[in-house]
Amino acid sequence: MEYLSSIILIAISAALINNFVLYYFVGICPFLGVSRRVDMAFGMGCAVTFVISIAAFLSWVLTAFVLRPGAPLASWVWQRLSPGSEGVADLSILNYLVYIFVIASSVQFVEMYLRKFYPPLYKSFGIYLPLITTNCAILFACLEIMKHVSGVPAAEMWDLGRALALAFFGGVGFTLAIVLMAGMREDLELCDVPRALRGPAIALIVSGILAMAFMGFTGVDRNLAALLR
């Protein structure tokens, strides 16, 4: 029960309270770039959710087994190299490098796989996938997961389920934000915006107001935790 409630809390926190785009302001480039039409925004959101889940899975596995201090695989190699040494194997300096590497290559792999076996899906995701390769929202999700996996006591370490919940619902939150934004920008096309504010300027102002609206969720998590306990 405690595990389930922690998953629910992580999910709601990632999707609404600490929305990646509107709270942390990561992933702004697709948020502004692909939010002109609702259908394209939804496609982008789905693609981000998909890739963020894959990236979170891979980065959790790599962090837990290779990168974190005292990781099993790294420790095994360390023992082989210098038998009986005191220190623990710690590859956490490689975190950023490995995450970027893994995200880029997994996106490449997924793209090739989709192209071969699911051409319609490739057609609808097509353009978004390479754009996502360098999306900071995904790296951000990996780093958030790293914070709870690497260098924490074993009892507090997040398992794969929690990591995937954070990533997937972070993606859902991104989709929600970008679709809301696209809906507003579609209406904004019809508005008489002052010339100085046209284009990206008004988009940023609108996203700021949207972010303020999402600030209303602050504190929901505490009451929710009390409710679930």
Binding site: R36, M40, V66, A74, V77, W78, L81, S82, S85, G87, A89, D90, L91, I93, L94, L97, V98, F101, V102, S105, Q108, F109, M112, Y113, R115, K116, F117, K123, G126, I127, L131
Partner: protein, 302 residues
């Protein structure tokens, strides 16, 4: 002295890189999809900005449409003419004819034809006058204060009898007047011929309301739409479908005689017959502005 930790880190990175490279290389071969080499060439010819300006999602989709579906080669707004030429060379087609766009004022009423006008003594600009109501009955039509005249760098637009009128011998199609008009009644029309038929009205109100404010405006009766399939009525206003407009075959004689108002008008360069008809009329002498007594156009008008 390189510590063991650095060695392990470097080794881990190398192992990871080799493993991923192997997997990706294998995937590239296994999941290889045969594509038309022309599509690849077209993708290479496009700028790769993936801006969506062509109406397709990204450059590769547009390239596919060009090669496989015979889409026009001129749609890339980023690449412009050079990319269009490259694509045309690739596909072995001519770059499609592109029409010069010219400004058209969608109002045909002179001051005398606009009803319910009041004396306006405020700032002599359409932008200011547009903000207050009651200057004239028609809230869609030309105000005649010449914001478009001031915006035009080519002297191609003038206010004649209180109505902005385009001089098509001078108009370059830059669109400055379109942006200047606060009532948005100037649009760019593809001039497929020297003379184009246009709807000289922007009033979307019902017929009764239009007749109460204007003696020439379109009342949306729809007789033109029933007579000619190039015309249609959209929210109480006639419009011409310029995509289908073909000056060689279109016959507008019937529809022009049927229109009960004077909303359908030919604009553009006059035909020799028109010139002959007015040849014996005496032209007024051209009056040049005297810059000793006038400061600028705005003061001149007021």
């Amino acid at each position: 002295m390189i510590s063991g930790e650095v060695l392990v880190a470097g080794g881990a990175m190398t192992v990871l890189a080799v493993a991923v490279a192997y997997v990706l290389g294998w995937a590239n071969k296994t999941f290889h999809v045969e594509v038309d080499p022309r599509v690849e060439a077209a993708v290479a010819a496009l700028p790769g900005a993936n801006c969506g300006g062509c109406g397709y999602v990204g450059c590769s989709e547009y390239a596919e449409a060009v090669v496989l579906k015979g889409e026009q080669v001129t749609k890339c707004t980023v690449g412009g003419a050079s990319v269009a030429t490259a694509l045309a060379g690739l596909m072995g087609v001519e770059v499609g004819e592109s029409w010069p766009y010219r400004a058209v004022v969608h109002c045909g009423a002179t001051t005398a034809q606009r009803l319910q006008r009041r004396d306006y003594r405020g700032e002599q600009s359409c932008g200011a006058a547009n903000m207050i109501s009651g200057i004239q009955g028609c809230t869609y039509g030309c105000l005649g204060l010449g914001d478009c005249v001031a915006a035009c760098k080519f002297g191609a637009i003038h206010v004649c009898d209180g109505l902005a009128t385009v001089d098509y011998e001078r108009c370059t199609g830059c669109g400055a007047c379109v942006r200047a008009c606060p009532r948005h009644i100037i649009t760019m029309v593809p001039f497929k011929a020297e003379r184009m038929l246009v709807v000289k009205c922007s009033n979307k109100d019902t017929g009764k309301d239009v007749t109460s404010v204007c003696t020439v405006g379109c009342i949306g009766c729809g007789i033109c739409a029933r007579t000619n399939k190039l015309l249609q009525i959209d929210s109480g206003l006639a419009g011409i479908d310029y995509d289908q407009y073909d000056p060689a075959t279109a016959d507008f004689a019937t529809v022009l005689s049927k229109c009960p108002r004077e909303s359908l008008v030919w604009v553009g360069k006059p035909t020799p017959r028109d010139l002959a008809a007015v040849a014996d009329e005496k032209l007024p002498d051209r009056v040049e502005a005297d810059f000793k007594t006038t400061v600028d156009d705005a003061e001149w008008r007021g």
